[in-house]
Symmetry: C2
Subunit: 150 residues, 2 copies
């Protein structure tokens, strides 16, 4: 059902400075950046490795774009650090339904748009031993029927 | 230098209950358990996926074994959640030296024993934008000269 650690989401105050830290310290380069207005974040994706399900594992750096975003509120309370973890699946809808049926609160009624065209949902951290947990289907790993392919 | 997300270390109050949560909710099974007296933790390793450097990515669940362990103190302050992240390398000594030379405090003078015979060190979270960051060379990916094998 969940086939990889897709990414670790890290909240930061200054995206450019944090991107530079990861580049200068570890040699990790930015693969992609985008603004997600719905989530209220500006983000950078650093590709760390490929995974044996055909996907990849990433560090996702997140800077809030507005004070009322969940990441801004989280930063004000916690300071910089790991904001969430994400497991990859080829069927985020099915995984959310299965996990929801096991008593874990799923935060969205339907998956929403995540990084790089992915579809994501979140599980309530209080139901996951304190860990805000995301489920993600990347744009390239959606089931054939859903991707509109042949 | 760093070639994979090796693991996400998650601190919990009750290892058995947390292991059962990850099994019942996601289907992740325990690959290995051990007690690390030096770190003051009892831990379970859940293998999530293989990585394209020949290693794997894991969820590491950590329960403190004594009140004066760093994980116990962290839990008392923060509650359950993500305690650290770890990047895999085939040369933890060299990586620590390189990264230390770039101005990041390395917490151990020499790498210590981690899960499953690995060698690990940590970077100071205040030097890493709030993220306690581990570097790890697994027992099977050490350079030939160090593993003594061929």
């Amino acid at each position: 059902m969940l086939t990889r650690i897709d990414h670790i989401g890290i909240a930061c105050f200054d995206l450019d400075a944090t991107v530079e830290f990861y580049r200068a310290t570890y040699g990790f380069e930015v693969f992609h950046t985008e603004v997600n207005e719905e989530q209220g974040v500006r983000e950078a994706m650093l590709r760390i490795n490929g995974t044996d399900d055909g996907g990849a594992s990433w560090i996702q750096l997140l800077e809030p774009t507005r004070e009322d975003s969940t990441v801004a509120k989280w930063l004000a309370k916690n300071g910089e650090g790991v904001h969430h973890i994400a497991f990859g699946t080829d069927d985020v809808d099915g995984a959310a339904e299965t996990i929801g049926g096991r008593g874990v609160r799923v935060l969205y009624d339907e998956p929403r748009r995540g990084s790089m065209g992915s579809r994501i949902t979140f599980l309530h951290p209080k139901d996951c031993h304190g860990v805000l947990t995301e489920l993600v289907t990347s744009a390239t790993s959606a089931p054939e029927g859903e991707s509109g392919g042949h």
